[in-house]
Symmetry: C2
Subunit: 82 residues, 2 copies
């Protein structure tokens, strides 16, 4: 059965995010009043698994092995049937 995974990868709390800082400064320079800005990456993918739990587990494995750096990233996985 096909499941859609939405994997959101963000920096752990307290990690410095220079890209977000640069974007925040650019927004401020354009006149937007933004005090804090965070960023995240999202991956949408489909997996073929028997049930929702194993689909989620497959997503976790992908994060641990490739998508996220466990030292600096935290991730969140949303599973939905197709």
């Amino acid at each position: 059965m096909k499941f859609s995974l939405k994997i959101t990868i963000s920096l752990k709390k307290g990690m410095l995010d220079p890209e977000a800082l640069a974007i925040k400064h650019a927004l401020n320079n354009l006149g937007f009043d933004v005090d804090s800005l965070g960023t995240a990456r999202v991956f949408y993918l489909d997996v073929d698994e028997s049930d929702e739990n194993s689909a989620r587990q497959k997503g976790q494995e992908m994060c641990d092995r490739l998508l996220a750096n466990p030292v600096i990233h935290s991730y969140d996985i949303e599973v939905s049937g197709v």
Copy 2:
């Protein structure tokens, strides 16, 4: 009043996403069976506006002027009270 914006920026349908393709190949090489993979960027930020509509409009303005490239990107804005 403070509102939280969650701005998701993704490539328009049909746009080539070489990064997603590279990640898909890497996952396949690790033995994961993934046929399609999409990516998006998310920005979380707070704005100080009088109501939800003007908060959303501020987000749209940020996308149009800096965050997104209207030629290749589409964006989605979620507004929530803080």
